[in-house]
Amino acid sequence: MSGTNAYYVYCVVEKSAAAEVLQQKSPVAIEESSALELIDHDDLSSVVSQVSLQDYGEETLAARLTDASWTAIRAMRHEHVVEHFSRRTSTVPLRFGTIYLDRRGIETMLREQEAQLTAILARLKDREEWGVNVYCDRAVLLENITNVSPRLRELTAEAKKASAGQSYLLQKKIETLKTDEAKVEMARAAEQIEKRLADESEGASKLRILKVETTEHGELKAKFAFLVVKSNFKSFHQVAEELARELAQAGIRIELTGPWPAYNFATV
């Protein structure tokens, strides 16, 4: 047992690749004062660095985490380390804040989770995670909804042919339906994006939206993560572009982010 230090764990990689990747201009650890190290078991290596229990002990850590700025900086360093590895080799990213009191604890973890970790590493090989954010400009969608929605298109055509009185009633109906149809259309678009990009990838995951983000592109309406084979990225990208073109009229924009470490696919 080391008395005052503990080990912070970032990610797990294959031992055969770990040392070489670590040598390449290794990034800053979660605390600048310590360096990244590897702790191995069989074919696995965990990427770790030492932290002081004064900051990372059970009670003190809870207090530190209430300081948003402290936490955000540490989260970024965690990300930086994981990215360093995931760009070069198959990497299982761990969630922020996994700490062991000594080396043995980590070795035991690697031994106990060996089958699971090995399976995930194999699954992630030559793949990367891409994020897709879907934004909707409500004003544009509402403006074009009569063209975009099949139901409203039908009603509009009917109204044109109908008598003056009927046409008036149909017009009123169309107006009240617009908001509903905009919602339906948005859901349909999100579904289409998910399905078509899922066809180009090996895994798809719908993510929660943290907070309502309103940007110059409208409001964030849906968020996905896809696990993409690196050699198929071009094709994935192309489909995303096609979707973006098709949905532009509906005020829908697609933002692609990545490549991320496979945070959303780090399970068996």
């Binding site: 360093r77 990215e83 990213p93 996994t98 943290l210 983000e213 690196k230 924009r253």
Partner: protein, 85 residues
């Protein structure tokens, strides 16, 4: 921007400068709430994470702080980006 499609490449400083707030929140969401959960001897609980997010939402609304935090991830030597592509 006229193109209907945008791509924010992680590690690209230009995009960070434009979308600092969004990228930061995006990154924090990945790091804090996803990834493999392994029970360590000390592990941050989900309840803690939810609390952290409340504070972070306030934090990222300050662009200056957002940039400062993003710099931590951007501490990467030139030539170290997209080496695999």
């Amino acid at each position: 921007m006229s193109s209907p499609f945008e791509q924010v490449m992680i590690g690209s400083d230009v995009e960070f400068a434009q979308d600092a707030e969004l990228s930061l929140l995006e990154t924090l969401d990945h790091v804090l709430s996803r990834g493999l959960v392994i029970t360590g001897e000390i592990t941050i609980s989900v309840a803690d994470i939810d609390l952290i997010f409340v504070g972070l939402n306030v934090l990222v609304s300050s662009v200056e702080t957002a940039h400062e935090v993003l710099r931590e991830r951007g501490r990467r030597e030139i030539g170290d980006i997209e080496s695999g592509q």
